[in-house]
Symmetry: C2
Subunit: 473 residues, 2 copies
Amino acid sequence: MTTSAELDIILAAAAAASRPWAGTTAGQRAVALRAVADALDAAAATLVPIAQDETHLPTGRLNSELARTTFQLRLHADEIETGRPFDPRIDHADPHWGMGPRPDLRRIQRPLGPVVVFAASNFPFAFSVAGGDTSSALAAGCPVVVKAHPGHPKLSEATGRVVRTALDATNGPAGLFAVIYGEEAGRSAILDSRIAAAAFTGSIAGGRALFDLAVSRPVPIPFFGELGSTNPVFVTRAAAAHRAEAIAREFVGSYTLGAGQFCTKPGLLFVPSDSDIPRLLAGPEAQGSYLAQPLLNSRIQLGFQRSLARLREHPDVRPLVTTPDGPDAEPGPVLLTTSITTVLSDPDTLLEECFGPAALVVTYEEERQLLDVAERLPGQLTTTVIGEADDPLAPALIEVASERAGRVLWNQWPTGVSVTYAQQHGGPYPATTAPASTSVGTAAIGRFLRPVAYQGVPRALLPPLLRDSADSA
Amino acid sequence: MTTSAELDIILAAAAAASRPWAGTTAGQRAVALRAVADALDAAAATLVPIAQDETHLPTGRLNSELARTTFQLRLHADEIETGRPFDPRIDHADPHWGMGPRPDLRRIQRPLGPVVVFAASNFPFAFSVAGGDTSSALAAGCPVVVKAHPGHPKLSEATGRVVRTALDATNGPAGLFAVIYGEEAGRSAILDSRIAAAAFTGSIAGGRALFDLAVSRPVPIPFFGELGSTNPVFVTRAAAAHRAEAIAREFVGSYTLGAGQFCTKPGLLFVPSDSDIPRLLAGPEAQGSYLAQPLLNSRIQLGFQRSLARLREHPDVRPLVTTPDGPDAEPGPVLLTTSITTVLSDPDTLLEECFGPAALVVTYEEERQLLDVAERLPGQLTTTVIGEADDPLAPALIEVASERAGRVLWNQWPTGVSVTYAQQHGGPYPATTAPASTSVGTAAIGRFLRPVAYQGVPRALLPPLLRDSADSA
């Protein structure tokens, strides 16, 4: 665990690194990010076995997650080189401006300062020490202090060493990057006046506790927390009639992916009560794809069993598919089922996220009930509509989904989150604590920037992106 | 005062207006905003006398403030018609994308939902019922509930009637806009689950109390509060030597503008201890421009006298310019003076905002002390450097200013805030509670939007700005 004396040294160094790192050009930071990506790729043979040992995730998945992580670092490097995240705006002086003469005003996005990143357990590379939050903050020009997830301490340390060596080799300032350990160190960091923003991926309870600390400070700071989501999937009557087998097969693939330990796992599947889908989900063909996998760690397993027990105890919830489990067994996928009227009458119990390989299949009588339930759902990372192009309910379903989720899918499954320019991995609370932000994609960089306008400042004193050819000074 | 029963009806209507207003095109909202602007311009002869009566502000100033307000509505109308605030991003499907095949992803900014706006006292038009917050939220596609400032209730009611009539005439949904009265109604509104965001301009104490409510909710909401700022002005040794008279004259004009009741009033002027500026500020020429003006209301006057008393009681603060005042007199401008070492030894007392026609002239011995004090200052709306182009300290001063303020000025004065594309009226806490946002300029619209990504959604079901010519569906 990081002691408070060690933390103080780390935070002082991060604060000292803030101005030099903010003063680098985007090109210099891009070189550093690419060096980190290269170093991580080169260390794959060392890192992946440590990750495998600590998280029980399969090697193939870990290799592709590491590839995703280094792709993300390089995409952020490319993005800052375009200048886009800094959104330079230049208003030349205008004596004829509508509300009276306008001075020369130029606005640019500047880094916030040192960021504390709380790593997640379920993506030991992509949402951990060198993940999207770290990459975005470094790209923005902010030093980073990562609070390691206790689920993979050795991997955190090893990854941290690779990142730090690469940053040092590209002349990053001392203190630019550090890893800290222990809940107490994390809490102290978020309350420290030298920290300017925080990012988090994890549970609703943990995220809300840290959010409450961030906003309770004498100087509150932005808290970008990704908390929880049940990711509902609405299957229309027409789609269920035409494509029952494909829907059942694809749904099983999605909710069991990574043993259901994705924040975008579809935890709720709404289907017509008279459709074949429930029968197919419980049938022999689907059963073949239910493989028991160990969960990330015993804490996650305990939480999974607890959430599942609460659902199972509900008098109107029935088992649909159960695979053997027990205190010592690896938990196999579980499907429960209930009716939409039950869900509407007890949403607090039935709409809660169950992190792990389980989902609730909800049957409806009237298609319009989908709209009722969609409006009652808490904020979501994703909402999916499985429909036919001419479904009369489709426009309304897409509209309600847009009001409650960060990403809306049509006839696709939410568990893949591509790293792109238009990606939005966020959503209204409790999906996140900052619905205007994303933690995946190039727009994630903007979380760690704030605008500054310069009025009448001579060319030589302006940030380079605000100097234009029309300058006389 | 708005009763809780009345408030409930208003909030239910705002919630009901949310989807229809979000579903209008930007062009339809632009028509509505321009209709509001036209109606306000047409009502000037009615509104300005009410404002004059309630705020004691001179008619000329009120007329130009109203012109600024309607200019802002029209600029926001123009801005949303360009599509820019909605930042449409289209990633076509790409089987060769670096981290694996990419689906079709399209992202756009969508309205948050009903916004409660807490009006300010000091700009009864531009930061009140039809001010920048209302205009931005309506432009974004959000219904607005304005909590009227108690300093100008009749004007709030009259302005609200003009706005509402204009919105009705352009077929805005019922419930799109309402004005509420009373602190209790404001507190209830910000805690109501139907409200999705809040905007505020006012004091640190009042703003922080509302921020604390907004983040304490079961579902926390964004709170865009503009709270307080002392707006320091740093005069370098060279500038003081070359332009003492102009600096003294311009400073008096700026800090006394609107009887010092601007959130951008320069409350701190740093000058070399051996410069002529303090003498000039106290001299007969400058004295001629000190005119006593009534403050907005008795609450503001009381607050002013209290802040001033605290400064005056400090053993190392001396009067520089005093005009007669007393419990009943209109307060005249006041300048106090102290040394930079005193400020550094008691920043909590001496760097606090004093809302009204007063400022503190701080003398320094060593120019480098300016950097020390600049780094100790709390977050600011503005920081000004009065310098010469070849001042050796200028780059460092501009840099520190950029770290602590939303707007950095060079040889200009902060009290004018032009409404433009590059304007940034915001800054680190306590200047605002949301340092990434601005409450003035076209970027203000973005406060009330959040991104949604659409994955694989057919053309007909996409928001119009996300349909491109390359679509096959």
